[in-house]
Amino acid sequence: MTWLRGHFVDVLSLAGQHIYLAGVPLVLGLLIALPLGWLACRYKVLYPFLIIGTGLLYTIPSLALFIMLPLLLGTHVLDPTNVLIAMTIYTVALLVRTVADGLGAVPDEVNQSATAMGYKRGRRFVSVELPLAVPVISAGLRVAAVSNVSIVSVASLIGVPQLGSLFTDGFNRAFLDPIIVGVVACVLLALLFDVTILGVTRLATPWQRAGEASS
């Protein structure tokens, strides 16, 4: 594909922007979703409110959120931070339920044993509940990653450069090549995120591998 050869550096640069706009919210979103999910799990009465509330956030069309955030936050019109914050909101919306369900799936007996062994609440959360919830949370994170990569491309409609810019540029000129390259790049990017999250999860759950090795 000659177009790609001539524009490889540009595509890489846009991909870099895309990774930044899709990836940073994953981390931020997770950090925010952890305490919220814990609240939903611990205080059962909060569960429906938090889940429905965050679910509602996810249905807000991305374009609308990108447009309204500069007005709500007072940021500059073209600032990519608007996209970053919007994506973080979507990630939190997806992850709160996952975190709550993941923590809720930790068997009671395990929690009780930990308490019996002298683990206080905080240490139990960090050393026992959270690690056991990692597989479920990681599955949710992978879904969020794929979703983020796709939503970020919409930001080209408000002039924020990332892989989606290839779509609008190609469309305006009725030129298929940049669009095809953009779509493939997005899919590859989603795959990259997926593999990375899987890898980090395996690093974080050595007991699962130990189980495999012994069986």
Binding site: G6, H7, D10, L12, S13, L14, A15, G16, Q17, H18, I19, Y20, G23, H76, V77, L78, D79, P80, T81, S156, L157, I158, G159, P161, Q162, S165, T168, D169, F171, N172, R173, A174, F175, D177, L192, F193, V195, T196, L198, G199, V200, R202, L203, R209
Partner: protein, 308 residues
């Protein structure tokens, strides 16, 4: 089953690759079109463009000429419609953008009356807010127009927009979404030519949606830009505008006053002097029909004319 170590290595390699690419993207290469958002240093000019190819091309020409003269340039192309990028100009996200005298004048002054090039330019200068200014205008014009297919023109014997008056109520008009409320759009057609279309279909700014809709009959008349190569390519008919709803639309650089200096004015005015409608049309054709890279077409124009 892959060995555990191989999986971990793969994941670490993937993370490293992503970090490397991400750092590529957020580096502040001033000429990269995916520019960083750090506040541009003093002396840097941020060139923006509207979301259609001709404007992006003009922005590339401006950017190329300025960097040839040693000015640090950052590009933020394909922002959106005027209603989106003027606020960006005002809040400093961009400093310079290629504009068109007539529509810009009407944007700031709803009662703009002039229709000839000089008159429009004068009204524009008077109407601009204190922080913005325009440099020399070019002879090159790109006007909005109402376009129909040859078949429609023959069927209803259409030569001017006024000829649409008796049949408008059975016709569908297409145009960019902003036309619904803009003074040069649907309201203007009603006010000046007394046209009441059956429906208005929001499409895009003279792009493939509009061309396609006209070709396939989803709309009977559509707004296209006069330099659009699809008009000639499809045998469309541009309806005359005797009442000058679309006033003179000379290409002109719109720039934040505080950023103007002699180098910049000289470079941009030189471009305006060399550009005319025919040349602009030919350049747009290279980008839209021949699918050439706007940056490359811009560079060629500059080199041919000794401007970069």
């Amino acid at each position: 089953m892959m060995m555990n170590r191989t999986r971990i290595a793969l994941a670490l390699a993937a993370s490293a690759a992503m970090l490397a690419v991400a750092s590529c993207g957020s580096s502040s290469d001033p000429l990269a079109s995916g520019g960083s958002t750090k506040t541009a240093g003093a002396g840097t000019i941020v060139v923006g463009s509207a979301n259609f190819p001709e404007n992006a091309l003009l922005a590339e020409i401006y950017a190329g000429a300025l960097s040839a003269k040693g000015v640090t340039v950052e590009k933020k192309l394909n922002i959106g419609s005027r209603e989106t990028y003027i606020p960006a100009l005002k809040d400093g996200s961009i400093d310079l953008i290629p504009e068109y005298t007539g529509v810009l004048s009407q944007y700031f002054n709803k009662n703009a009356k002039a229709t000839d090039a000089a008159g429009v330019y004068a009204e524009l200068k008077a109407a601009l807010p204190a922080t913005l200014t325009v440099l020399d205008k070019s002879a090159a014009e790109d006007k909005d127009s109402v376009v129909v297919t040859k078949a429609t023109a023959d069927k209803y014997n259409l030569k001017t927009i006024a000829d649409l008056q008796p049949i408008a109520k059975d016709l569908t008009l297409g145009g960019p979404p902003e036309w619904k409320t803009r003074p040069t759009g649907v309201p203007g057609l009603k006010k000046l030519y007394n046209l009441d279309f059956k429906t208005f279909r929001p499409l895009d700014a003279g792009g493939p949606l509009s061309v396609q809709a006209l070709k396939n009959g989803q709309v009977d008349a559509v707004n296209l830009f006069t330099t659009d190569p699809s008009i000639a390519a499809n045998g469309f008919v541009v309806l005359d505008d005797p009442k000058s709803l679309f006033a003179a639309q000379n290409v002109v650089p719109l720039i934040t006053k505080s950023k103007v200096n002699d180098t910049i004015s000289a470079a941009l005015n030189a471009i305006s002097a060399k550009l005319d409608t025919a040349t602009l049309g030919a350049l747009v054709k290279e980008v839209v029909v021949d699918k050439k890279d706007p940056a490359a077409v811009a560079k060629e124009f500059l080199t041919t004319n000794g401007l970069g």
